[in-house]
């Protein structure tokens, strides 16, 4: 099971396709969640060279630089990150690692026509074929990425119709629901 955070193509608040900026805490929070739930690699996808440099600097600092000695737990999480220029390139990497065709699952807070629920997601996680779980930054994945995916995950529904979680929260909740979400045990 692998995870991708897409910075292009995503949409802005008006639905226009843009390339989003990399947010430092996205890398940290999502890497820590991925490490917690045993999901790797965590692909950070951006075609922009300056943003690729930024990602590389952050990884270097925490994985081999001063940060690695200061906080080895953070090193173990950020070591899961792989920089890729496109979703296509990330998919190629999954294919090469697993020697199998990946199944793609896209996520969106405003998924209009979802075709995968939580039980289905848990079944996919237990499948032999690799799964790539795809998240968008900014106002979400561009429509063509959503249409091209194998599965469209149901949005996270809270208690009152408000559906504006951060991507950091959404990743955390989805991984928890996928792997341990139904934990009813006491303590």
């Amino acid at each position: 099971m692998a995870l991708a955070l897409i910075h292009h193509p995503v949409v802005d608040k008006n639905g226009k396709t843009i390339a989003g900026a990399v947010t430092n805490l996205d890398l940290h929070d999502i890497a820590r969640a991925a490490k917690t739930y045993g999901v790797e690699p965590f692909y950070v996808v951006t075609p922009l060279e300056d943003q690729q440099h930024l990602v590389t600097e952050i990884i270097d600092h925490w994985v081999t630089g001063v940060g690695a000695r200061y906080n080895p737990d953070r090193r173990d999480a950020l070591a899961l990150i792989r920089l890729q220029p496109s979703l296509q390139a990330a998919l190629e990497d999954v294919r090469a690692r697993w020697q199998a065709q990946p199944q793609t699952v896209v996520t969106s807070a405003r998924m209009a026509e979802s075709d995968l629920g939580w039980d289905g997601l848990r079944r996919l996680a237990a499948d032999d074929r690799p799964v790539l779980l795809v998240f968008g930054t900014a106002w979400g994945l561009a429509p063509e990425l959503i249409q091209a995916a194998d599965y469209r995950l149901a949005p996270i529904v809270g208690r009152n119709g408000y559906n504006h979680l951060s991507v950091r929260s959404a990743v955390s909740i989805i991984l928890d629901r996928m792997f341990t979400g139904c934990a009813g045990d006491e303590g």
Copy 2:
């Protein structure tokens, strides 16, 4: 049900009691999760005056300033924040709002002696008495806060013993487990 993010007293990586700095994205992410799951107020607790100013500036920008017009969804989330100088003051506020004695639940990734599991937390959420869910910044809540609480929540256990989620992720997962975590429905 209310939530508090404590910046003092918390501990640093060596276990020494400190006052943590306010992180902008903590306020945004946790307010958005609180709004999603219908939890309020979200108390941001810091005794430091400069940090209180920072919190007030962030709230003002998003709730009544330029940010409110730019992103009304963000306004609705950040409007749940109440600044308090201490956990004690937050508890007084809960008492005054609900006209009842709050039950406090503390959280920690390294909770040594937890006495509340996920079923128990769901029962508390359904209780008539108000509940204040307490999270720490930096390396977690100071021991005296953990000892003084009514309940100590079990830590989030992932799949491999790695227990270093961000506080933003931990809040999101705990609220989801509390209110909708066992959702097994398809779609």
